[in-house]
Amino acid sequence: MQMPDPNPAILSRKAAVVRRLAEALPEGAVIHAPEEVRAYECDALTAYACPPLAVVLASSTEEVSACLAVCHEEGVPVVPRGAGTSLAGGSLPTADAVVLGVARLNEVLEVSYPDRMIRVQTGITNLAVTGAVEEDGFFYAPDPSSQLACAIAGNIAMNSGGAHCLKYGVTTNNLLGVTVVLMDGTVVEIGGGHMDAPGLDLLGVICGSEGQLGVVTEATLRILPKPEGARPVLIGFDESEIAGQCVSDILKAGILPVAIEFMDHPAIIACEAFAGAGYPDCAALLIVEVEGSDAEIDAQLDRIEEIARRLDPVELRASTSAEESAAIWLGRKSAFGAMGQMGDYICLDGTIPVGELPRVLNGITELTESYGLRVANVFHAGDGNMHPLIIFDANTEGDLEKAEALGADILRLCVEVGGCLTGEHGVGVEKRDLMEVQFDPADLEAQMRVKDVFDPKWLLNPAKVFPLSVSAGRRAA
C-alpha cells in the first residue's frame, strides 16, 4: 500500500506549526514529542503505521475549530480520530499531518425521552450512549462488536453497523443531527431533534464520509425502547449452501429477526476450541435471534424451526432461558479472540446479495486454497455482510502481501456478484486501491466533487478512500 510522500515544507515548519497550535489551544491539548505522538501512529489495522507531525486532543467544538483554522492557514493535513479502532486504516496518519482526536469530548449533552433522542459529544464510546439511557428502558441500536471501545465519532464517520442492524439499521438510520467543523474552522449545525432535512440531505452524506468532509463534534442520536426480551436459536447444517437457503427462506417467510449470524466450519472449530460453547462440528451454523414477549418469541422461533426442519439441519437448539441464550452466543461473541489465537488476521467486510451466499462461500474456499492460506467466516448473513478473516503469519516474509492479495480477490468476487467492497468498516487505506473495481470514473468524480465543496484544499484525512491516481490532480492543486 502506497502513501504519498510527506510534504517536506511542512515537516521543516513543524516547530512553527506546533507553536501556533499551542497558542490557539489550552495547555495539554497539543502533543508533539516524537515518543508521545507514536501512540497515534496507527489504528486497529496495525500492519500500517506512521507517527504524525503532532496530535491535538480537543475538549470542545471551539478547540476543534481553532485547530482546524490553524491547520487550514498553514496548509497542514488533518486526520480526525475517535478511538482508533478502525479496521480499514481510516485514522492512519501521514508524517506531515496533525491527528485531531475527539476522545476528550465525551459528555452527554441532553437526553429527551419525549423526543426519544440523546445529544452527545462524539468522543463518547458507543456503549456509553446506551449506558446513559438504559436504566430508563432505552438503548442506542447500532452495536459494532467494538462498542466498548469505539467512539460515536468513528461510528458516524464509518457508518458503522453491528449484529442487530437487520432490524434497527446502521448508524445513518439512527442519526438525527450533527455539529460538524469544516476544514476552515466553520462550525455547521445540521439536523437536530426533528426528522429529515429541509433541503439536501447533508447529514446523509456526512455519515459514512470517513473524515473526508469535516470533523464531527456533537451528534443527536435516536434512542429506542428496549424490547421485552430476545432469544436465539442455533441451527447447524451439513452444507453452507443449505444454511444460505435457510437465511433466504426465513426472510421470505415474513419473519424479521434482529440478527442472523453465520459461522462456517473453520470459524466453528476455532470458536469451539477457544470458548467451548458446545457447538456441533458441522459445515455451517446460524444463530437467529428474535425479539418480543415470551409468547411472541416462542411463536417466531417455532416458525423458524419449521422452516429450518424442512432443510434437514444436523442441530437445532432454541433457547428457552437467558442461560441458554448466553451459551448460544458465547462462541460467536468470542470469534475475534478465537481468530486471534489462530494467528494474525485481516478482517474483510465485503457485502453480497443474500442469494449469492453459496456461490461466494464456494468461491472464497477455492481462492483460499489457491493461495495456500486459511480463512474463517463469521458474519451477518441477514444483510449479506460477509466477514472473511484471513489468517496469516506476520513474521513470515511475504505472508501479509499474500493475505492482502487474497483479500483483494475476495472483494472483487463480492463486487462481481452484485455486492460491494465494504459493508461496515469503511474504505480507509485498506480498500482504497480497489475502489475502481466497484466504481466507474464518473462515480468517483461525483463523490470527489462533494469533497471539493466541503474541503476545497483536500486537507482532511489525506490519501484515504479515493485511489491516489484518481485524486492526484486535486491533492496537488
Binding site: D196, C207, V450, D452
Partner: protein, 356 residues
C-alpha cells in the same frame, strides 16, 4: 416534452440541452408541461428478490406497480410513502423517482425510517449528462460517499434519477388501531410519547383534533392482539380498538384536500408540537407522535414566522407567487446554504434543473 426511454437516451438529451428543464415523474406534485422532462417511459422492475428483501426498478415505475409486486410476495415498503395527488388536486400517479426525489414518507417514518433510509442504491444522470451510480443492491454498504442519501429529497436539483434500489420489509398479517377522543394537544403528544416509549412497536401515532388520537400496531395476528392489550393498559385515559383504518387519510392528509388555503408540512421535535399548534392560524394534523405537523394557513401566510422552535417547514400547496415569495423549502443558515449551493453547482453547472 422530453420523454427518454433509456438512461442513454436521457444522458444524450441532457448533454445537448442548454435551457432549463423541469424534471417530472408522474406529475402528481406539478403538472407535466411542454419543455419538461419526464421519466414516465423509463419503467419496470428490473430485479426483485423477496428472499433478500430487495427490489430495483427504473425511476419512472409507478408506485402502484411496485406496491402490487410487493403485495404478491407479502412484502412492503417500510417508509409508507404519502401520495400527493389528492391534496394537490392532481390526477397523475406517483412514480418511484418522484417519491424518492421528495423523500416522501408516511406515518411509519418515525420508527421505520424515511424513503432515504430504504434507498440502498441509485443511478442518475447529472447536469452534464454523466451517468453516475452510487450504493448498490445490498443492504449494508459504506463504500465511498453516500450520494444515494444526497439524491433522496434532492427534488431533481442534482440530476435525474434513473434507477433506484430499495430495501424492503416483510408484510404484516394484521394491524390494530387504538383511538382516544377529546385529548388536548398536550395530552395527545404525552400519550403518544408514552406509547412510543413502550416495547410494543407502535408504527403509527397521530392526532387529529377533529377526529381523535390514533395509535397503530402491526405484525402477526396473536402478537398484535397481545401488544394492543398491553399498550392500552399502559396508556392514560380511555382507548378503544376501532375497525376503521384511519391511516391512509392521515398519511395523505386528505382532510386538507379540495379546500382553499395553503398547506405546510412541518418537522419539529414532538415535545415542541403542542406550543407550535397553539400558534397556528388554521386547521392542523399531527403525525409521527407530534414530529410532523400538517398545517393549513390563509393564502400567502408565512407559517415559518410562527415557529419559535428548531425544525423546518415545507410549503406543500400554495399559489405559484407564494411559492416564489416564501420559498417551497425552509431557508437554510448561511453555512449550510454555501455547502448546498456548492454541491448543486458542481452537479448541475449549467443550472438545467434550477426549476425542478
Amino acid at each position: 416534452m422530453l420523454q427518454p426511454e433509456s438512461e442513454g437516451d436521457l444522458a444524450r438529451m441532457i448533454r445537448s440541452a442548454n435551457a432549463p428543464m423541469a424534471i417530472r415523474g408522474g406529475g402528481t406534485r406539478a403538472p407535466v408541461e411542454a419543455g419538461d422532462l419526464t421519466t414516465r417511459r423509463m419503467t419496470g422492475i428490473t430485479l426483485y428478490e423477496p428472499g433478500a428483501l430487495t427490489l430495483v426498478a427504473w425511476a419512472g415505475t409507478p408506485m402502484a406497480e411496485i406496491d402490487a409486486a410487493l403485495e404478491a410476495e407479502r412484502q412492503r415498503l417500510a417508509f409508507e410513502p404519502w401520495e400527493a395527488a389528492r391534496v394537490l388536486g392532481r390526477s397523475g400517479t406517483s412514480t418511484l423517482g418522484g417519491c424518492v426525489a421528495t423523500n416522501a414518507s408516511g406515518p411509519r417514518r418515525m420508527v421505520a425510517g424515511a424513503a432515504r433510509d430504504a434507498v440502498i442504491g441509485v443511478r442518475f444522470v447529472d447536469g452534464e449528462g454523466q451517468v453516475v451510480k452510487n450504493g448498490g443492491r445490498v443492504m449494508k454498504n459504506v463504500t465511498g460517499l453516500d450520494l444515494a442519501k444526497l439524491l433522496c429529497g434532492s427534488r431533481g436539483r442534482l440530476g435525474v434519477l434513473t434507477e433506484v434500489a430499495l430495501k424492503l420489509l416483510p408484510g404484516v398479517a394484521a394491524s390494530v388501531t387504538l383511538a382516544a377522543e377529546g385529548l388536548t394537544p398536550e395530552d395527545a403528544v404525552a400519550a403518544m410519547s408514552v406509547a412510543l416509549s413502550t416495547p410494543f412497536e407502535v408504527t403509527g401515532a397521530a392526532h387529529d383534533p377533529a377526529a381523535g388520537t390514533f395509535l397503530r400496531i402491526e405484525g402477526g395476528g396473536d402478537s398484535v392482539a397481545y401488544r394492543a392489550d398491553r399498550l392500552a393498559a399502559a396508556l392514560p385515559g380511555e382507548w378503544r380498538q376501532i375497525d376503521a383504518d384511519p391511516w391512509p387519510a392521515i398519511r395523505d392528509a386528505t382532510r386538507f384536500a379540495g379546500v382553499e388555503g395553503d398547506l405546510w408540512r412541518v418537522s419539529v421535535r414532538p415535545s415542541h408540537a403542542p406550543a407550535l399548534v397553539a400558534a397556528l392560524p388554521g386547521r392542523w394534523l399531527m403525525d409521527w407522535g407530534g414530529g410532523l405537523i400538517w398545517a393549513e394557513t390563509p393564502p400567502g401566510t408565512d407559517l415559518r414566522a410562527q415557529m419559535t422552535c428548531a425544525g423546518h417547514a415545507t410549503l406543500v400547496r400554495a399559489a405559484p407567487e407564494t411559492h416564489a415569495t416564501l420559498g417551497t423549502l425552509h431557508p437554510e443558515p448561511d453555512a449550510v446554504k454555501r455547502l448546498t449551493g456548492g454541491i448543486v453547482s458542481k452537479f448541475d453547472p449549467k443550472a438545467l434543473f434550477a426549476h425542478s
